[in-house]
Amino acid sequence: MLRVDALQAIYSELEKHIVVTIMGAVAAELYTLGHRHNFFYLEHAMGLASSMGLGIALCMPEHKVIVIDGDGSLLMNLGTLSTMARYKPGNLLHIVFDNESLLSVGGFPTATATGTDLAAIARASGVPIVIEANDPQHLMEAVGTALHSAQLTTIVSKVEAIGPKSFHMDLPLLENRFQFKRSLEMMRQQSQV
């Protein structure tokens, strides 16, 4: 599966919810599919998109938060799985696109290329629902299930190590940061009405 096809398949859900992505190909591809003010692209601090998503999910329990992670990023912060599993916020969906590669820095293989199984690690960490979905239809169903289940879910999707031609995004990171914060504030206000 191409990651861009995976993103396309779930875009109609992503645009409705709070989304935090890692940097690199996935950020550029989601941005190109259509930026929304409720999308935050963490352009550094590899591994921490899921920690940010956990912080948001715990502080905004009435809203759904979708984190889009990658194998390289998650391997840098495996402790996040045990922390998420400890608090199990039902409004948090953690999607991991596993291309077995550090694609944006030259395509060097990660440990998932040599047998490390992120879905198994998530399960063993105590994440209540872990789904492997390796085609767009499956992924769409898994995302639908997760969003309706109100249980912390990790979805691991194997994708090809192919990225966009350009990683350019016409969005300075501070602009993204302030517009995202404002968007969350509006979501909070609307839910209180």
Binding site: A45, S51, M52, L54, G55, L58, S82, R177, K181, E185
Partner: protein, 170 residues
């Protein structure tokens, strides 16, 4: 255990007065009472992390969600979190209220704490993070409030160093 319950309570009350709703922590001797106070408080979300790097992400998420947070960490935990402090908090202008137990400073008997004690303030200064020392109980309320005020106004991390004099009753 001679960790000061009285001063831990004062610190906790000061955080509550700052409307801190979510705290992250990784257990450390000087912080035990503070962590228990947070754990027993139904109005506080306590996130027990596996490594301090996560705490920077959690606080960043809380800030973007409009909620005040505080980080309870040992100075070695602060040292473990340098990259996300730089490439998340400083890069994205995220305020952080870091309460750091200042191990390895004057009076330290545990030799393994001493290198961290020596580098804590130089590293904070290198990162351009303002430092408040907490050594007197009378300063706790005002200094924690002022640290949070600056963090939010500057959209920048601040460090409150919890001293041995305050935290440890020998």
């Amino acid at each position: 255990m001679p960790v000061s319950m009285t001063n831990s309570k004062l610190i906790y009350e000061a955080l509550k007065a700052c409307d801190v709703k979510i705290m992250s922590a990784l257990p450390e001797t000087w912080l035990v009472h503070l962590i228990r106070l947070a754990d027993d408080d139904p109005d506080t979300i306590l996130v027990r992390i596996a490594k301090e790097e996560e705490a920077i992400g959690i606080s960043a998420g809380a800030h973007l969600a409009g909620v005040n947070s505080a980080l309870l960490m040992q100075n070695h935990g602060f040292l473990a979190a340098i990259n996300p402090i730089v490439s998340l908090a400083l890069l994205y202008k995220i305020p952080l209220l870091m309460l750091i137990s200042y191990r390895g400073h004057m009076g330290e008997k545990d030799s393994w704490q001493t290198q961290g004690g020596l580098v804590t303030e130089p590293v904070l200064r290198a990162l351009n993070i303002p430092i408040w020392h907490l050594t007197n109980a009378a300063d706790i309320h005002r200094r924690i409030k002022d640290a949070q005020t600056l963090a939010i106004a500057a959209l920048h991390p601040v460090a409150v160093l919890l001293s041995r004099e305050l935290m440890w009753e020998d």
